[in-house]
Amino acid sequence: MIVMRLKPIAEIREMVSRHRHVMLVGCNTCAAVSLAGGETEVETLLETLRLASSQFGPLTKFSGAMLQRQCEPEFVEKLDLESCDAVLSLGCGAGVAFLAANEGVPVYPALDTLFIGAAKGMASWQAECSACGKCVLGYTAGICPTTRCAKGIMNGPCGGVKDGRCELGDRDCAWVQIYDRLEAQGRGDQFGDLNVHKDNSINSSCCEWDMGPKAGESR
C-alpha cells in the first residue's frame, strides 16, 4: 500500500488558516490502512484543528467526510462539499491532486506521502517499492535496491556496509540481503551478471502517466 503520515499541525493550520470552512476528507483505502487518513484520523484531526482554531483564531469551521478512494471518479463524484471553501485531504498525493483537479476550491494535503510499503508489524511499514517503472525484483531476489539501498545502486554493496548494516544506520544493507537470499535460493551465480542501468526515461514520460491534455485516452 501507499504509506503516509500526518504533517505537523502547525503546517496544516498555516495552509488552511485563510479559509472560513474547511472540509477534511479521509481516504478509506491506503490512507486508512496506514493509520493516517481513516475515519479515526479524520475525527482526531478535526478535534485538533477545532481546538487550535478556537485558541489561535481567526475562527475557521471544520467538517469531515470519508471517501472510499480519492483517486477514482466514481468515489470522488459522491463528495458533497456543502459550503466549504477549501478541502484538506487525508489521502496520498494522488488523492490530493485528483480532488484538486475535480473540485472548484483549493485542496491542501494533510499528509506527507512516503512510500509504497508492506505492513511489517503493528503500525509499522517497510518501504518496498519506489514505483520506478522498471521492476528488477526478479533479479534481486525480491529485494528492491532502488528502494532499500540508500544510494539505490545496482551492482552490489558500496564501501559503507558495516557488519551487514548500511552506514546510514537505519537499515540492513539491501545488497548483502540480496546476495544472501540469492545464495540461499541456489542462484548466487546471478549476482555477478546483475547490472541494471536505470531507465529514468520511464519516470519522465510513459503513456500510463497521462500527463497530456487527452489524459485517460492512452490506454
Binding site: A150, K151, I153, G156, P157, G159, K162, E167, N200
Partner: protein, 293 residues
C-alpha cells in the same frame, strides 16, 4: 615516471591524496601536494569527499597538473548523472588528466548539504563502464565521439569488509568492467590482506594497498567503531596503547605492513587524513625512496 608507466612496468607504485579547498584558496592544497611531489607517482584528488561541498575536483586536478604533479581524478556518482560524468571525463581528458578512480561516493546525508539530491544514476561499476565506452570512442548511449580519450581507470575495494563475499563479488564485477588498478580501504592485517591478494591475483588485478597511519589507540578504536570496512587488530591497538610515542609507533606499524606485503601487491595508496607530514616518514621507514621523475 608516470603513474601509468609505473603500473605497467611493475615498479612499486606510491600514491597519496589531497582534498580541494572549501573556497578558492588553493594554497594549502598546493603546499600539501608540493611536500609529497618527490615521493609519489600521483596524487588522488577527492570528489567532494564525505559529501562535503568543495572546489571542483577537475579544477583542483588542473592546478596540480600545471604544477607538474600527476593527479588522479576521483569520480563519484553522487552528484552527477551519466551526462555530467561523461562530460566531465571528456573535459578532464582535454586537459591531459587521464588517470581516473571510479567510486560510488558517500551518501549526501553524511555530508554538509544533507538536503541535496543524491544522484547515483551510475554506481562505481557503471562509471567504469562509462570510461570503457569513452575509451572505445562512443558514449554510453552509443554515439560516436570526436576525439577519443585514453583514460586509465581504477576502482576501490574493501578487503576487510564484513561480510566479505558480496564485496568480493562486486570486486570481480569491477575487474570485468575494466578496472585497471585498485586502491583499497585502509588495511592493517597483513595476513588477511595477503588472502585478498590471492583472490585479486587470480583475476589479474593490480592493487595498491590502502594505508592510513594510526596516531593513537584512540584513533584506532574510533575507526573500528565508526568507519565501515576498517578492522585494526587488537594487537596493534595494544602496541599503540603501550607506546611512549604513539605517532612514531603508527609510522612503524604502517611501514611494517608495507614491508610484509610489498612483494604481493603493486603499490600503496597512503591517505594522510590530516597528517600529511607522516607520509614521507612512513615511506622512509619502509625503505621506499623518492620516485624517479
Amino acid at each position: 615516471m608516470s603513474f601509468r608507466d609505473a603500473l605497467a612496468s611493475g615498479e612499486f607504485v606510491v600514491t597519496s591524496e589531497v582534498g580541494p579547498p572549501k573556497g578558492t584558496d588553493i594554497t594549502e592544497m598546493m603546499q600539501a601536494a608540493e611536500a609529497l611531489r618527490s615521493r609519489v607517482h600521483a596524487l588522488n584528488v577527492t570528489d567532494n569527499q564525505a559529501a562535503v561541498m568543495r572546489m571542483s575536483t577537475i579544477a583542483a586536478c588542473i592546478h596540480l597538473k600545471q604544477a607538474g604533479i600527476e593527479p588522479v581524478l576521483q569520480v563519484t556518482g553522487r552528484d552527477r548523472n551519466r551526462i555530467g560524468i561523461q562530460s566531465d571525463l571528456l573535459g578532464a581528458a582535454s586537459f591531459g588528466i587521464t588517470t581516473v578512480l571510479a567510486l560510488t561516493g558517500d551518501h549526501v546525508v553524511v555530508g554538509d548539504h544533507k538536503e541535496a539530491k543524491p544522484v547515483f544514476d551510475l554506481d562505481s561499476v557503471q562509471i567504469l563502464e562509462a570510461v570503457a565506452a569513452l575509451n572505445s570512442g562512443t558514449d554510453l548511449a552509443g554515439n560516436e565521439l570526436h576525439g577519443t580519450p585514453e583514460l586509465l581507470v581504477g576502482a576501490v575495494v574493501t578487503p576487510d569488509a564484513n561480510p566479505i563475499k558480496p564485496q568480493l563479488a562486486k570486486f570481480d564485477k569491477k575487474v570485468r568492467a575494466g578496472a585497471q588498478y585498485f586502491q583499497t580501504q585502509a588495511v592493517y592485517d597483513a595476513q588477511n590482506f595477503l588472502g585478498f591478494m590471492e583472490h585479486a591475483r587470480e583475476r589479474g588485478a593490480k592493487v595498491l594497498a590502502g594505508i592510513v597511519v594510526l596516531r593513537s589507540a584512540r584513533m584506532a578504536r574510533f575507526m573500528n567503531k565508526n568507519i565501515p570496512g576498517i578492522a585494526v587488530p587488537p594487537r596493534l591497538i595494544n602496541e599503540l596503547e603501550n607506546s611512549d610515542n604513539p605517532e612514531q609507533t603508527g609510522v612503524t606499524i604502517a611501514a611494517r605492513f608495507i614491508e610484509e606485503t610489498r612483494d604481493h601487491c603493486d603499490g600503496v595508496h597512503i591517505m594522510a587524513v590530516g597528517a600529511d607530514h607522516l607520509v614521507p616518514l612512513v615511506l622512509d621507514a619502509a625503505g621506499i625512496g623518492e620516485v624517479a621523475q
